[in-house]
Amino acid sequence: MSLKKPLKFVKLESFCSHIDGVKFSIPSSADIQKLSTIEVVNKQLYDEEHIKTISHGLLDLRLGISEKSKVCGTCSQKLTECPGHCGYIKLTLPIFHIGYFKHTLTLLQVICKKCAGLLVSSEDFKIKWLAYYHRPTKLDIIERENIFKVIVKECKKNKKCINCGYTNGTVKKIGLKIFHEVSGEANEINPIDALKLFSQISPIDTELIGMSGDEARSERLVMTHILVPPVCIRPSVQVSQGVSNEDDLTVKLQELLNLNLLIKATLDEGKPLSKIVSEWEYMQAIAAQYINSEASGLPPSLVQSKPIRALTQRLKGKHGRFRGNLSGKRVDFSGRTVISPDPNLSITQVAVPVSMAKILTFPERVLPYNLKYLQNLVINGPFIHPGANSVEYKDGTKLSLQYAKRKEVSETLKTGDVVERHMANGDYVLFNRQPSLHRISIMAHEVKVMNYKTLRFNECVCTPYNADFDGDEMNIHLPQTQEARTEIKELMKVAGNILTPKSGEPIIAPTQDFLTCAFLLTQKDTFYDRGTFFKYLNFFSDAKCHIDIPVPAILYPKELWTGKQLFSVLLRPTKKIQKVVNVEVKERNYSGKGECMCIRDGWVTIRNSELLSGNLCKTTIGAGSKGGLIFFLVRSHSAAEASEFMLRMSKFSSRWTMEKGISIGISDVTPSNLLLDNKKDILGSSMKECEDMIELWKEGKLPLKPGCNAEETLESVLNGKLSQIRDKLGELLKNSLNVFNAPYIMAISGSKGSNINLSQMIACVGQQTVSGKRIPDGFWCRTLPHFPLNDRSAVGKGFVSNSFYSGMTPTEFYFHTMGGREGLIDTAVKTAETGYMQRRLMKSLEDLSIKYDYTVRTSTNEIAQFLYGDDSLEPMKMEDDEKPVHFPRLLEHVKASILREKISLTPYRITFISAQELTKRRELNRPGQEGFLCDIERFIEDTAKKYADLREFLGMNRGDKKEFVQEQSKAEAAVSNLINLTEKQLLAFFHTCWDKFDKAVITPGEAVGAVAAQSIGEPGTQMTLKTFHFAGVASMNITLGVPRIKEIINAVKDISTPIITARLLNNKSIVSARIAKGKLEKTLLGDVAYYVKEVFTQKGCFLSVKLDMQAIENLRLEINAEKVKQAIILYGKLKLKNNNIIVIRDDKLRIEPSETSREKLYFSMQELKNKLPKVMVSGIPTIERAIINEDEKTNKLSLLIEGYGLKDVMQTPGIDHRHCTTNHIMETEEVLGIEASRRTIINEIKYTLKEHGIYVDPRHIALVSDVMTFKGQILGITRFGVSKMRDSTLMLASFEKTADHLFDAAYRGSYDPIQGVSERIIMGKPVCLGTGLSTLLYNPQKSACRVPRERPLLFSSFK
């Protein structure tokens, strides 16, 4: 068998030699020459006629070709085969390499400019630090950077060389030149000098400054030769005969070549030095531009408005080589078109247009069992749908079926041939919609080839893709190997993704119309006669499945079935289905009392798959709740079951709704008279309140809120009051509209819209806000010129009392647009911001995975967590409270679904059986299970106790003692009706618990990092940029939303709203709280001074300060004149001495200016008068204010402190230092350490997400937090942090600062072992996560692999 082309069925790896790692180094001039085929010396590109390229020019044919018509001069191959060949330019004079300019500078700073020795204070220093480099364990990135810093610092400090005694000066860069300043004289160190110095540096010294020995010699930092890249990467474009457009690189190289020749000529001719120098400088700049056209330090004359696409520019950025071509590639076997909904498809399917199916093919190998099938496909050919496009024979020849004699081909088909057959029903494809924010943006669907031109799928699957059908397009990919196909089918199938890995809530569930339908169908007064009922039964079954018809709920006087019965059948069409559902849910319209007897029928009880009470809304069958039906189906039965239910539901809904008809009209939004009256009342009373408030404010009698001035108080009170009006009306509407009102149905059932939307359409649009406040004044003292000056009224500040139905006034409309615009801008800004955040999170967490010992490690085997989430359980498989089983629900299910017996177990027996089961389980000794077992134990104990109590209450024996003997009696029967728990049921309970726990244990290989990154990043898109009020305290805003998440993740030092929460030692007394507050808050002299007066007398001039002792007393400050005196002396800016300040009384002091000369006295007085009020007399300088907060429930007092200074706060008397927390992560690290800051990160992210109503499993948050802290210091998820976490050059280069990382790697001579996700993608190797985690320890094929043997070279033995 020839191995000319690797067959697609087998991994490429086994045949080809593969890349184990990448070593970076700076090429020496010899290396460059070795790589090259020719030296480029001719500055001309073409000959005179512009037909042929010139020999030894930049477009020499031996450098490769860029046109189809030509043949390479070196390898004689055509454009598609020739890889291109390099050339080189020998530089007459050396120049600095711009990429290593920084390194060159640092190197020159640390060596002696005479003998090139390292400027250390002693040899011992060298030996000490060299030892670190030679440690057997690899240096950590942070360590390495620190060592480098230490050495550089040491060398910069020492001026005198210990070898030669030469006194060095400082080395600086100006533009692209480097100067050495010795005793005020600046000498240029030109490239020739640098080259000379660098070649003298000893190998030990090079190692000390971070260059690893042989590959990276310091003299290579200076360029003596330039490598000319092959022509094919800088193709010339023929514009017309004789005119061609050259690539930017060719142009620059030509300029360089030109200059090089010029300098040579100048040197040869012996022209003046100044001319040579200026030409040399120019060449330096051009060479810099060739490498990086955006380099700093280029002469202004060369900086173009549109920088050229130089080497660096080709690599960096989104469309650069790394991100655009290596990390992400264009693919074959994919398709894209508009999507549309199809409720008749199962959630696992996707309908693919025939036209697409005919292009996307799968290479299927001919085997005896599929010969017939493939022969038929071959006969069908490329134009009839289940057909084939081409055949590849065993010998590697390929045959297109378009023009072939297909009949003959089909007959000659043999085992081992490969048929490129059309995509067909039952194939699995990847289905994807951008932006792919989480893993469920790409899922595997089963193909259903259908007519028409769109990709179609069940609407239930819209949520994970975040798709709608307003013109969205989506992509499909057909995997090309059986391996890939199986892998996507098993790991990425839709049915496996009904629950989101973010929180374990269902994300694929009936939506919109399906909810409306379920709501209407399950109304209490939906009755169907036999004909209608039977017809509806066929809606979901396609008349194909067996249905057990229930007995009608009303038998007489007329047979009538209810909608609930219909739903029950839909849920469980036949009694043959053994698995049953037991769910009890408080629905959205639950009245709040009576449980299942709720008068609005808002309590859903499903028992043994029978809907017994309640109307179904979003909570029961919709997405996003763990108490619902879908969740139960997936968790207790199987995803397939849930998927079938969803299919039945969507089939039924679309048909049923179509027959029933649901539509919205003007009558739906016309308010009733009753409502109008109510609106009038509510508006009237609210307006009255507001006016009273404004009146109070005008009189200055408004009681202030803590930490607010009068104006702020008024605004916050009015805004709060006015914003409530809309909600109040919405609530009113919810109770007054009837079930024939379409918007109401939609709002209640949760299919679309909310109370607010009802209210805005029918009653009142409500208060308009811009960044959380009422409409700001756009004009002088008013919002719009339609209102009087200083108008604070509701109408004048953006309250819209009209509804969309009644129509808005012009001013109202204008205010409404202001609010609307904010929303639009918000979304626009947010998408960009969260996108970048997501990318950074992903880059820093991508290679974390679970290893076989359940630790979480990076690709370089650094441990981020010792046990994933502290219990090794998978977030996706959690029920309530982040635990794998919700015990009460499970117990109810077990009790309902397993046949009851006449007599229930006694409480004693319950605990006895439970103890037995638990002991058995404990013996298994599974990791992380102990907490779970304790939970069960507690639950069973509680249950048994509850039963015992009930028995006692009914006047029976408690039954929780061993001695108690149960007897058959009427009382026992009665109590069994209530309790009803049998041994079988209890055992089933335990069995299910173990099963669920074992299934919840996370699988080794799981890419937990990526999932965590997505789980934090994806919700970001749902958050608004708003900041909200802090609990209870109106004035204290804290940043929330995306900006806050950004702050936390970036580990920002200067956060916008730092708040310290401090508990008080005495949390009952307001007085002691005030004292503590006084001690904390920064108080200026100006705040407590009654006056600061200038006094001019004949004897002299001074400032007289009187303290407002009343205010001081009220604020419980400890300030008197003596203390103020000390504060003034300590306040550096005034330069006042002890004798300048005289304390007159306890509340009075006199300050004399230190400057007493006639000219300056007055000004000195003025200066003092201005500055004195700013002297801080008490408190902590970093704390702006503190607010006493009273807990509403416990009435305990605590302090909320705005500002930094956790340490100072903790030391303040009266504060309970054990309970002081700050939301500032860096400060927490500083004061309390890394573990505390880890906790703070978790708490802060959790809090921020919670404020936006987003629930994310804490395991994800903890992992992000661990990654930020596992290095022992806080590393933000930014370019700085990531470069400290990861050592891989390729990964860092594909993240940010591409060129810098590459040059740095070359300087260090570093080696990238290609282990992480990014690197492996770049190299086209399988990633070491998931199914790629396990590999063969020994690969027997490798030895048989055809690696070319190394041939001895002619003189190699001579060495």
């Binding site: 399950t522 109304q523 209490k524 007064d525 009755f527 036999r530 057990d548 018809i549 229930p550 007995v551 009608p552 709920a553 009303i554 038998l555 007489y556 006087p557 007329k558 009538l560 079935w561 209810t562 909608g563 609930k564 019965q565 299942c596 007897m597 008068i599 609005r600 029928d601 009880t605 028992r607 043994n608 029978e610 809907l611 017994l612 009470s613 309902a896 009851r900 009930l950 209450f953 009914l954 009427k970 009382a971 029967a973 009665a974 109590v975 009706n977 209530l978 009803n980």
Partner: protein, 149 residues
């Protein structure tokens, strides 16, 4: 115990309707009635189809809960049979009949509340636990009503 024989009868009583839709009429065709029985002193709450069986406050109704419709007390199978012969059953003696399931027992202070659902039309019977012991959870029941006066 009245006309129906033996084991099929679970509860037979007469009750007086004390209220109809006490908390307002929410559903067009369903009314919730409340009443207290004369014999067993149980409280009854019941949803009925108000068009098929209109009920007014103050009326007296005879109520029968049975596990089977047949007069001889043979068990019902719980599935629908179109051809079932309905003559000579309990139906002939009553004017309204529903079929449903006992699904929940709960305690309200010292009284037992038995919940029955007739395809979503709910019923509760509140009484002494011992008196209602025959109403076992998950059993299927027929509810028959007849207006007395």
């Amino acid at each position: 115990m009245g006309e129906a024989s033996g084991s099929a009868v679970l509860l037979e009583d007469t009750f007086r309707v004390s209220s109809v839709d006490r908390e307002g009429k929410i559903f067009q065709r369903v009314s919730r009635i409340e009443g207290s029985s004369q014999l067993y002193e149980v409280q009854i709450t019941l949803d009925v189809h108000s068009e098929l069986y209109p009920i007014e406050v103050g009326q007296y109704h005879s109520l029968l809960l049975a596990s089977s419709l047949s007069l001889d007390g043979t068990e019902n199978k719980g599935s629908y049979n179109i051809h079932e012969n309905q003559s000579n059953t309990l139906l002939s003696k009553y004017s309204y009949c529903m079929y449903g399931k006992i699904f929940k027992h709960a305690m309200d202070r010292n009284l037992l509340v038995v919940h029955i659902s007739f395809g979503g039309l709910l019923m509760t019977i509140t009484g002494q636990p011992a008196e209602l012991a025959q109403l076992e959870p998950d059993s299927l029941v027929y509810l028959l009503l007849r207006k007395l006066y």
